[in-house]
């Protein structure tokens, strides 16, 4: 039997206030409203989050594996872009 699948949504969860939303997976839903409820049921059953974003997978533009060389390799030899020349005080976390 031919079957039309519901569209795919990507799910982003914010684990707690102050952190940013993080991609956790995807799901199928008929529309954004259903996608939010499905995300609640599938991805927050164990208290994983305080906020959910759902995005139609079709709305995401992704880099291609073939772009790897031109996109990412030029950064490899530019050590001056890393703040490794500074002394960081011990009390400063999360850098």
């Amino acid at each position: 039997m031919a079957r039309n699948e519901w569209p795919l949504f990507e799910v982003f969860i914010r684990p707690k206030n102050g952190l940013s939303h993080k991609h956790v997976g995807s799901l199928h839903a008929a529309d954004p409203r259903m996608a939010l409820e499905n995300a609640r049921d599938v991805y927050t059953r164990r208290g994983e989050g305080v906020s959910i974003w759902v995005v139609p997978a079709a709305a995401i533009s992704a880099s291609e594996p073939g772009d790897k060389e031109s996109f990412f390799e030029p950064a490899d030899d530019k050590v001056y872009r890393h703040p490794t020349f500074y002394d960081i005080p011990d009390d400063v976390k999360n850098i």
């Binding site: 519901w6 799901l27 199928h28 839903a29 008929a30 409203r33 259903m34 409820e37 499905n38 609640r40 049921d41 599938v42 059953r45």
Partner: protein, 252 residues
């Protein structure tokens, strides 16, 4: 009837209703039309079993004869069960499950909201915990009623048929006997009939949005609250209780 007897009986009615409906929903595990909905229905099932656990545990304490939640859940037979007839109705198609859930949720949310101000602190505490989950349950089931009612010709027809099959079980939710009257007088539980206006408004609003036929006036089929059940509950209990009956006290 003493207040204690009334409260025990009332807690069984609420707890058994949650337990039977939770079991019906658990039967969908692995069978729902979509993977995501499969998880959603089993979430609802677990919530309902959780409510049943709190209510039956408290029932055992009120009774004071040493029966715990498991004793009450697994070692009572059909005529000692006090659930509404609606929730023991066997699963048919997904639309029927949604309609049954919706009619129950709209009632249960209203009830638990009222019970949060019960003069019985334990019952108020249980209600405060359950009410948050019931809000989500109703949102979920109402959403599906609208989607399916206002969906395709087939889904519309199935939803209309499901509600036709279920209306006759709804008046039982608003019935009162000496149990409810005793508790209402003490401010422990609301008069069931006082839940009706809010339930009707919620149900009618969602049906209209779902383009489904309006709620008919029905003469209800009742009896579950006093242990007079249909033929289906026995099968439900046989499956649910099998393990504890065959291996009493088994744990894992």
């Amino acid at each position: 009837m003493t207040q204690q007897d009334a409260l025990f009986e009332y807690l069984l009615r609420l707890g058994d209703t949650s337990l039977a409906l939770g079991h019906r929903l658990s039967e969908w595990c692995g069978h729902a039309p979509e993977l995501e909905e499969d998880v959603a229905l089993t979430n609802l099932a677990l919530d309902l079993v959780g409510h049943a656990r709190m209510l039956l545990t408290y029932a055992g304490e009120v009774e004071g004869k040493g029966r715990d939640e498991d004793r009450l859940a697994y070692h009572r037979d059909v005529f000692d069960y006090r659930n509404h007839l609606m929730v023991e109705q066997p699963n048919r198609d997904f639309g029927h499950t949604i309609a049954r859930q919706f009619l129950h949720d709209a009632w249960a949310l209203e009830l638990y909201e009222r019970l949060t101000s019960s003069t019985d602190a334990n019952l108020a505490g249980i209600a405060a915990k359950a009410v948050k989950e019931k809000r989500y349950h109703l949102r979920h089931s109402a959403e599906w009623v609208v989607r399916l009612g206002d969906g395709t010709d087939v889904s519309h027809a199935k939803m209309a048929d499901a509600f036709d099959r279920l209306w006759r079980f709804t008046p039982e939710m608003f019935e009162a006997d000496e149990v409810e009257r005793t508790l209402a007088a003490a401010g422990i539980a609301p008069d069931p009939d006082s839940l009706r206006p809010a339930w009707e408004a919620r149900v009618d609003g969602v049906l209209a949005e779902a383009t489904l036929p309006a709620r008919p006036a029905v003469v209800g089929q009742t009896g579950g609250r006093s242990g007079r059940h249909g033929e289906h509950l026995g099968y439900l209990l046989a499956e649910m209780q099998y393990l504890q009956r065959a291996y009493p006290g088994a744990t894992w």
